[in-house]
Each structure stands twice: as C-alpha cells, then as structure tokens.
Symmetry: C2
Subunit: 415 residues, 2 copies
C-alpha cells in the first residue's frame, strides 16, 4: 500500500475536479447511482461475506445490523445519491464583492477544499455518502473504513471508480485504503502535502488519535454529551415529552440526551413524574446524590465520570441544581459542545441561556435531536463538528468548501 | 511557570468576555490606549533594555530595528488601538436565520472563539495588536513573544492588565508566558482543554513546529512564495511597474514577489528590460537555465530549491515557461498558496488563471502586495492564513469569531 502515491493521485484528481462544472459532477453522481443499481448483486454478496466474517468474529447483533447493506438499504443509498444531485452546488458562488478605494475589484469565490481524508467505522453507506458529497463539491477523497466492512467498501469504491471513468473524470477522485494496517491511519494524518482536511467519523478514541497525531486540520465531531436544563418555570408535561424524544428516539446517536439538569424548586415534583414517564420506555436514571435522595430506588447512584460519558444507550444522567448558575457551570464542565438546551417558560432566563452557553447548537424548548443536517435543512450531512474553527454543528455541502480571494486590477500597484 | 493554571484562567476570562457588550469592550480598549500613553516612559525604557541586550547579543541592525518601540512608534500603536475601537464588533450578528418546516426557528449567531494562543517573534507592537483585536472580538489570549523583546512585552502586558482591571474586566483576559523556555511552546500546543486556536506568527520553522505538535487547530500562514506570470499578451511597461512594486516595495514581507514566470514568446524582449528596470533598485535576478541563457551575466543561475524559497530580500527568481500550462504547473508545485497573479491582456487566459490557481489570493494585473488586511478594507489584520480551513488570506476581526446555531421551539420534538 503506497499511501504517498495514492495521495499524489488524489491531489492531481482534485485539480481536475475543481474546474469541473456542476452538470458534469451531477452526471458522475447519476452514473454512480446507476452503477450501484447495476451492481447490486455483487455489492450485496460482498456485504454478506462481511456479515459472515463478523458473525464468526462474534460481533454483537447491533453491530452486525450496522454493517448490513442489503437490497433495501442499497436502494435507500441510491435514492440519497439522487437527492444530492438535486442540491445546489455551492462551488463558484462569489460573495463579499466590492470595488476598493485603491482600485482593486475584490471578491471571495467559493472553491473546493481539495483532498479530504475520511476515517470511519462500520456502516458501509458512509463510503457512498462521503464519496458523493465530496464529488458534488469538487473534492477528491481518500477513504479508510473499518475492517468489518472492507469487502463491501472495496466493491463499492470499484463501482464508484468505474462510474467516474465512464463520464471522463479521474478514477482517483475517490480512493480507498485497502489495507487494515492501523499504521496507515497514522501515515495518512501526516500527508499534509496532499490532504487538506481530515474527518474522523468514529468514537472518542479515534477523534483523540486524529487530533493528537495529525499535521492536517481535523474536524473533530460526532461526540455528544448533550444536556437539557429543566428550569423551575418549565411546563412539566411538555418537558417530559421533549426529554423522552431527546433520550429515547435514537439513543445511539450523538444528538441524543445524556444529562437532564433539574431546578431544585421543581425536583421533588418533577423527578417522580420523569421516572414514571421514562421507565416504561426502558430508560434507567443515573442520579447524583440530591436526585437519588428524591428518586430512591427508582434511580442508580451516579459514579465518578458518569456525567462525562456519552451513554449511547437508554441511561439518562439526572442532577438537581440550585439555580441557573449551577446549571451553566455543570454544562461548561461536562458538555462536549454538541447540543445543549433549556426548557423554560421564563423569557429572560431563556435568553440568558442562549447568550451564555457556547455549544455548536443551543436550544430553547426543543429536543437536542434536531442537531442534524437534514433537520436543519442542509440537505446532506458530512459530519457534526464540535470544534470551533471552519464549521460548527451539522456540516453540509458548503462546509466542504473554502474560498479564495480574487483581486482584479487595471495594472494596479500598491501605493 | 504554571501554564495549566494560566490556561484555566484564560478560559474563565473568555466566558466573561463572551457576554461583554461592545461598549464595555471599547471602553477597555480606550483604557489601554490611555494607559499606553501614561506609561510611555516605562515602556520605552524597558524596550531600551531589550535593544541594549540585543546589541550585546550581536543582533543585526535590521532585527534591532524590528525590536524598537520608541515614542513615535508607540504613538502609532496607540493610534491603531483607537482605530480598532471605531471598527464594527462582529460578535452578536445573527445570520442564515429561518423558520424551518419542522417548526424550529433556527439561526447562526457570531460568537467569540474563546481563547487564542499566539506565538510570535521580534516586534513588540504585535503584543498590543493581538491583545486589542482579541478583546474587541471577546476572546481571551495567551501570548508568547520572542526572547529578544521579553522586557518590553512584560511591561506592555502589565499595562494592558491594569487597564482591563480599571474597567472591571478580568486581567487574565490577556496573559503572557513570561519564561523563554522553549518547552513551554510545546506545552501550550497541547492545552486543548483551554485553548481554542493557535496562531503562529513567525518563520517557516515555527509554523511547521506548531502544525506537527499541536492538538489545537493552528492557523498556518504568513509564508509567501508568491508568483506573477507575465503572459505573452502583457503590456510590458505596466508589467515592469507591477513586478517592481511586488518585489521592491517591502521585500521582507510575506506578500512580496518571489518568482516571475515569463512566457517564452516575450522572454527575449522582456527579460533585458526587466533587468534594466530592476537592477538600479538593487534587485538580483536568480534565473533558471532558459532565462539565464537570455540574461547572461545579468543574472545568477538558480540552484536547486531556489524556487521554493521565500527570499525576504531583493532576489527575484525568473523562469521562462513555454505556455500557460507550464506556468500553472510551476505555481502548483512551488507556491505556498499565499498570493499568485497573472499579468496579461488576454481576457480568456486571465479568467482561466483565476479558475485554475487556488491560492488564498489570486490576482489579474495587480501587485501581490495587495494581500493585506488594511488594503482589503478589513480594518485590521491578525494574520495572513495560507491554509484552507476557517479563514484564507488576511484575517480581520470576523476571522477571530465562530458561530453557534440557535434553535428555538415551542416545546418541539423531532418527529
């Protein structure tokens, strides 16, 4: 596996993609959609081998389900590709244009970033997602999926490359690191001559590894330790519905709720209601001491570190706070900066909350589950960024672009 | 030097700055301006000690001049502070606001980044610049200047801190790493719990060190290997003026010209003119073989690596290219992505150039010297970014901010 020459080829492909118009890029995406349909049997059969190997390796049912790419799911993926075709291409937009006093006609033009390296786990549909969103925005990409789906991914990338070739675009626009050697991830992170951005889509360990070992800018994200604060003025019935939605709808995703902070003035009344509402849904309350004192054996006492965990299951941390200030201090200390919200009917407190809390998404009286590219109307989602530079929160097509300044003069020198 | 507690204090200060209004931030800047005036003697005297130590250490006259902060220069710095007061505060702006079909009122709000770490060299005015631009945008900062100006910098930061205290803002909003121990830079780069962005302002070695050792996003920049391509259709007289401006006006800065590419059809005629125009200004032409063959002993033959160097002096690389394509290939290989331009009267070629070249700033018939915050009308400049994420080219106040998504619902759950 010669990663350097793979990087060089990706960079060269990126130069061609950068000057490819929307029509041709969309033709490439349609060719990919058709090729995925035409190669359905090959893809599904490679996936079956992955599933079989996963079973032999003793993977859990939940993980095996994430690996699965059957006919139905593949049809869904193809339909997603066609949705991306319909989205506007952000590349080429000019903005902040002005004629300066010094005579320079200046503007910013939106351009592709170049080469995007994506390291991800498990789900093979990510392979198609990332390839398609990168191509739509004129970026080349280098993909590195998990070892559990390597057979599926290799076939998928072959199909994509053949489709690219059929429309006259470089096959090297989408490349896959076919070895499961972990050292290659470390090598990829050092290839700043060829790769412009790294997106790790995976657990906290992968995020940390990329942050600490990359010479290339890394979009850290997808780790959600999310909070809701039920203020004393909250409409308790509505709060129960929002908390249930945030916790139960899809507990394994990053915008699911980890911790509910409850104002002490309502804790005695609200916490038993909370338990009555959530217990039938399978939720276990993990309570700090004050909440535990109220809930008794309806809750498990929280251990050290519990309030820093992304649960990814039906556990819910519960903590009684003395006031707004204590709620803010808790969020500041424990939030991963993904999504945090307040449930309140007090206008002043609500405003204060959105002024003070600095997470990628801050909510008043809404579920944290809204932090999502499609919910936000972005049409697509590459990742959810929890860092502060370049992009925050759900990243759509625009976040796969950068800009360049264009200055036009009539033979202009600086005075 | 306990860098961890310094970082913690900066983070805490950043929370307060983030909710401080423009009026109070401007009052702090005016207090700083007044304090710099009131402490002029103390500052100038500390700077004299730095200059004396520099002389004893055998620093060059050019470097000693960069260290100098006398009464006149300090007055200039104070005047710059008052200019920043007059600029609009980007913090708090809301944009991309929309009411989504799912009922969520969504917008992005511009907010401070948090804590900015800046590592810089030589010039003590950078201490004031960075502190003032950070405060204006509600960011705390941790500064680490060069050892040559440590006495000046310590006094400047003391003056700033006293001014902050006088208006009731945390002194820890601006902190200085008072030790010259190089290991502390490495430690700062790992403090991702407290620092949100690193800006290295210095030579290529510092930039590389930060990129390779930081867990925190780094804004790489300020290294300019800049090109102009004189196409065959160029107005030669005007081209001479632009090339002279780009090379000679201020050869030690990053937007100065490194390399002139000349179309072979005009090389025989243009290169001797170029020499006649630039030689009296002290420029030495460093030519590749074809250009050397034309220029003879009017040029020095380029050595390996010369076309990758940022000259920072009156040398100018000169290369004859066969056509547009060869010019582009040279720029792709050797440009640092700072500023590159074409000199031409051919509309099609000009357009092709700005489409194909992906540098932070791309010019048609204008000097590379325009790549500058004040020339671009940004009012201020924190750094010139040559990387592609977050900000490209001159970074003004807005580039010291990020955004958060604000979602407001009437007790809204995700369907």
């Amino acid at each position: 596996m010669d990663l350097q020459s793979l990087g060089k080829l990706a960079k060269e492909a990126s130069y061609e993609l950068a000057i490819t118009g929307s029509e041709k890029k969309n033709a490439a995406l349609e060719a990919i959609a058709l090729a995925l349909e035409a190669n359905q049997d090959k893809i599904v059969s490679a996936n079956k081998e992955d599933i079989q190997a996963g079973k032999e390796a003793g993977l859990t049912e939940a993980l095996l389900d994430r690996l699965l790419l059957d006919e139905t799911r593949l049809a869904g993926v193809v339909s997603d590709v066609r949705s991306v075709i319909k989205l506007d291409d952000p590349v080429g937009e000019e903005f902040d244009g002005k004629l300066l006093e010094n005579g320079l006609k200046l503007s910013k033009r939106r351009v592709p970033i170049g080469v995007i390296g994506v390291i991800y786990e498990a789900r093979p549909n990510v392979t198609i997602d990332i390839a398609v969103l990168s191509l739509k925005t004129g970026n080349a990409c280098i993909l590195r999926g998990g070892k559990e789906t390597i057979r599926s991914n290799i076939v998928l990338v072959e199909v994509i490359q053949a489709a690219l070739k059929s429309v006259g675009l470089p096959e090297t626009s989408v490349q896959y690191i076919k070895s499961t050697d972990r050292a290659l991830v470390g090598e990829l992170l050092k290839m700043d001559d060829y790769v412009d951005m790294i997106i790790p889509r995976g657990n906290a360990g992968l995020q940390k590894f990329c942050k600490e070992n990359s010479n290339i800018p890394v979009i850290v994200g997808g780790i959600g330790v999310c909070h809701l604060f039920a203020d004393k003025s909250v409409d308790q019935e509505k709060a129960l519905a929002i908390v249930a939605n945030a916790k139960v709808q899809r507990p394994t995703v990053c915008n699911a709720l980890e911790t509910l902070l409850v104002h002490q003035d309502i804790a005695e009344e609200f916490l038993p209601k909370l338990h009555a509402h959530l217990a039938p849904m399978g939720v276990t309350l993990i309570a700090e001491e004050k909440a535990k004192a109220i809930l008794g054996d309806k809750a498990t006492l929280a251990e050290a570190g519990d309030f820093d965990r992304e649960w990814l299951c039906l556990n819910l941390g519960v903590k009684v706070v003395a006031d707004f200030h204590e709620a803010i201090m808790h969020i500041r200390t424990h939030s991963s900066g993904h999504s945090d919200g307040i449930l309140t009917n007090d206008f002043t407190i609500a405003n204060k909350f959105i002024n003070v809390v600095n997470s990628a998404a801050v909510y008043i009286n809404a579920s944290t589950r809204f932090t999502d590219g499609s919910q936000f109307g972005l049409g697509a989602e590459v990742a959810v960024s929890t860092q502060k530079l370049h992009a925050r929160g759900p990243m759509g097509l625009q976040e796969l672009t950068t800009y360049k300044w264009i200055g036009i003069g009539e033979n202009l020198i600086r005075p």
